[in-house]
């Protein structure tokens, strides 16, 4: 288990992290989302030891993370980087050795991952001779080549074509099945929603929501969408008991109910207004939920 405990980091006057706390369980695919400048990269760099925190701690399996633990992690930095003039296989072998593999193991793994990612015939080409997407595959191989115990990937999907996204997703899920957790940042919320077991949403260096995707989508107050064929498709809602709020939604209306509201009474009222074409609870998408927590409640009212 990876724990980030009350991390803070200032750059001059900028508060990049402001008491960030969350944890990643074994075998989880963990999505890390937040606006530009929210502090995702900063947090991941601190986990990987390439940046330091002003206070707080990072723990791995209950112990403060140290160089030996980090050597078992796999890392894909936000700004990709490998040696442009070094052939792919040689540099993967080199990185695997830095991660502690023997010379022959390292070479084997490098070849295996390049083959797995469809780059067997480019193995001895210089990295700079590959297309950007293929360079990114090599970068992924660099994060995986030593069979890491944890994957820390900063926006791993950006720049990938749909097939690349599939390959990356499959690898993450397959690693997770082996018990290897992965934390990755992304702005593609549908992807996060589809892929992740758990998500952390951060805003200005603070955690604003976290949990499983299902948890995040579940609301305290249920939402009901009702479409009624009526001269006034929205007006019938007014004044009904248990309705906290309502807003027009295309041909129908989105109704926010109090937790203890009687939805049957609402259905009766809808029937009375006209022919009911749709009546059902809606769960917000992660993207909607994200906008709520990140934009802040005062803007929601407006």
């Amino acid at each position: 288990m990876l724990e980030l405990d009350d991390l803070t980091r200032h750059y001059g006057d900028v508060r990049a992290l402001d008491g960030l706390t969350f944890s990643v369980e074994p075998g989880q695919v963990f999505g890390f989302v937040g606006a530009n400048g929210a502090g995702k990269t900063t947090a991941m760099r601190i986990v990987m030891g390439v940046d330091r925190c002003d206070s707080g701690a990072v723990r791995w399996q209950g112990q403060p993370v140290d160089a030996d633990a980090r050597r078992q992690f796999g890392y894909m930095p936000e700004e990709r980087g490998l040696y442009p003039k070094m052939p792919c296989r040689r540099q993967l072998t080199y990185l695997a050795r830095l991660h502690g593999l023997s010379k022959s193991d390292a070479a084997d793994r490098a070849t295996r991952w390049l083959t797995h990612l469809g780059l067997a015939d480019r193995a001895d080409d210089k990295l700079e001779e590959l297309s950007l997407g293929n360079q990114q595959r090599v970068q992924l191989a660099a994060a995986l080549v030593h069979d890491p115990t944890l994957l820390v990937l900063d926006e791993p999907f950006s720049g990938l074509d749909p097939l690349g996204v599939d390959v990356m997703s499959e690898i993450l899920l397959e690693r997770a099945k082996q018990g290897v957790p992965a934390i990755f940042s992304s702005h593609q919320l549908e992807l996060v929603e589809r892929l992740c077991d758990a998500v952390a949403i951060i805003d200005r260096g603070r955690l604003v929501a976290s949990g499983t995707v299902a948890d995040l989508r579940r609301r305290e107050q249920p939402m009901l969408r009702v479409d009624v064929d009526a001269p006034d498709p929205h007006g019938w809602v007014k004044g009904l008991p248990g309705v906290i709020g309502a807003e027009p939604n295309g041909q129908g209306v989105l109704i926010e109910l109090a937790a203890d509201a009687d939805s049957d009474a609402l259905l009766d009222a809808a029937r009375a207004a006209g022919r009911v074409r749709h009546f059902g609870f809606v769960e917000p998408t992660l993207a909607q939920r994200y906008r709520e927590v990140v934009v802040g409640p005062e803007e929601q009212v407006a």
Partner: protein, 392 residues
């Protein structure tokens, strides 16, 4: 230690495969080969060809031979038929000069060095001997009169014998010392800049972040400096080997007797000089964000090396001068001056030890400073970092 070795091995092998390294080897071998072949292509400057006509000239020619032998040269005597033949031989360049009947010397661009007074004296004593013979003095008596000068030379003070001794030593060891200093100068700049460039390339490509998630900044810096340094050591050994082979087989110049100590001192000062300059260059690499900006950041360091090289040329002229003595101790210039002081046989054991100790102390002092600046700068990949920020 294991990680450091892996880093160093990559630095070494990747650069050993690089075009820059291969080309530099070709240039060095070509330069040494060329330097070795040059005297043979141009002819041996120590060889004089002297044309003579008549018996009296032959006697004078022996004087020339004796004089030339003193300076390490050789003389080839060519007998010519008459004055006309002697003239055309001089004009055609077949001989350097011609002695006609022991009375006239024909030359087209003057007599070399101190030859004219020697020839004058020789011809006077020949004339004197002839006069004595004409007067009936028997041969034994003649040679007693002519050869029995009793002038003794007594040295009553020692005017700068140190300097003369040094210059004597440099007369034979000088070319080797000079070549060694040229090689050191080139290697310090070349390999030092390679360190800076390697650091910036890792920053610019951002790979440094991946590497530093597995090794510490100290391991990465030390591995880089060591790996590149070993490659440079390999190249200087190549130069020493090729130079020795060239001296032994391709030229008629005898290797100076002090060859082995010179090579040893050059190797030692390569190591010290490289360590000092590689660390300084590493700082420029750590604060700069792009390879293009490296040149301007490294200029102060390069100026110091060039100044050291200029001082070395000066030391070659005057190996015992104050400049050579003082700069021989200064760690930044010692790598280029000490080989000359040693080749000139003027550096005492104490001096060598003190200079080396100062060099080592400099390296030891630089290591923590540079490691800190490097750690502070190497992960700030976006823009040039001020030294103060890298330190902070």
């Amino acid at each position: 230690m294991g990680l450091l070795r892996i880093v160093a091995a990559r630095e070494l092998t990747e650069r050993a495969r690089s075009k820059a390294f291969l080309i530099s080897n070709v240039i060095i071998l070509a330069a040494i080969g060329g330097a070795a072949m040059l005297p043979q292509l141009l002819g041996d400057p120590g060889l004089h060809r002297v044309g003579i006509t008549g018996h009296a000239s032959a006697e004078l020619a022996t004087v020339v031979e004796a004089q030339a032998a003193g300076g390490g040269g050789t003389v080839e005597v060519v007998e010519l038929d008459d004055a006309a033949a002697a003239e055309s031989a001089v004009v055609d360049g077949e001989v350097d000069f011609a002695i006609v009947d022991g009375t006239t010397v024909l030359t087209d661009n003057g007599l070399p060095g101190s030859l004219e007074p020697v020839l004058q004296l020789g011809s006077q004593s020949l004339a004197l001997e002839q006069a004595l013979a004409d007067a009936g003095v028997p041969p034994g008596e003649r040679s007693r009169l002519l050869g029995g000068g009793t002038l003794t030379v007594e040295q009553i003070s020692t005017p700068d014998t140190d300097r003369e001794a040094a210059q004597d030593a440099l007369a034979t060891a000088g070319p080797v010392a000079y070549l060694a200093v040229v090689a050191l100068y080139g290697l310090l700049i070349f390999y030092g800049q390679w360190v800076a460039q390697g650091i910036v390339e890792e920053k610019q490509s951002r790979v440094v972040e991946v590497v530093l998630s597995t090794v510490s900044t100290r391991q990465l810096l030390a591995g880089k400096v060591l790996g590149i340094g070993v490659l440079g050591l390999g190249q200087i050994l190549l130069i020493a080997a090729a130079g020795t082979v060239a001296l032994l087989f391709a030229t008629e110049i005898e290797p100076p007797p002090g060859m082995a100590p010179i090579v040893a001192v050059v190797l030692a000062w390569y190591l010290l000089g490289y360590a000092i300059y590689a660390l300084l260059f590493a700082v420029t690499g750590a604060i700069v964000a792009r390879v293009e900006d490296l040149q301007s950041a490294a200029t102060p360091i390069i100026i110091v090396i060039v100044a050291g090289f200029a001082a070395a040329q000066f030391a070659l002229q005057n190996p015992t001068g104050t400049v050579a003595v003082v700069l021989g101790y200064v760690p930044l210039t010692a790598p280029l001056i000490q080989p000359i002081r040693v080749a000139a046989e003027t550096a005492t054991g104490v001096e060598i030890i003190i200079a080396a100790a100062l060099g080592l102390a400099t390296v030891a002092g630089l290591v923590p400073l540079v490691a800190r600046l490097y750690a502070g700068g190497v992960l700030r990949t976006r823009a040039r970092v001020r030294l103060r920020d890298a330190w902070g």
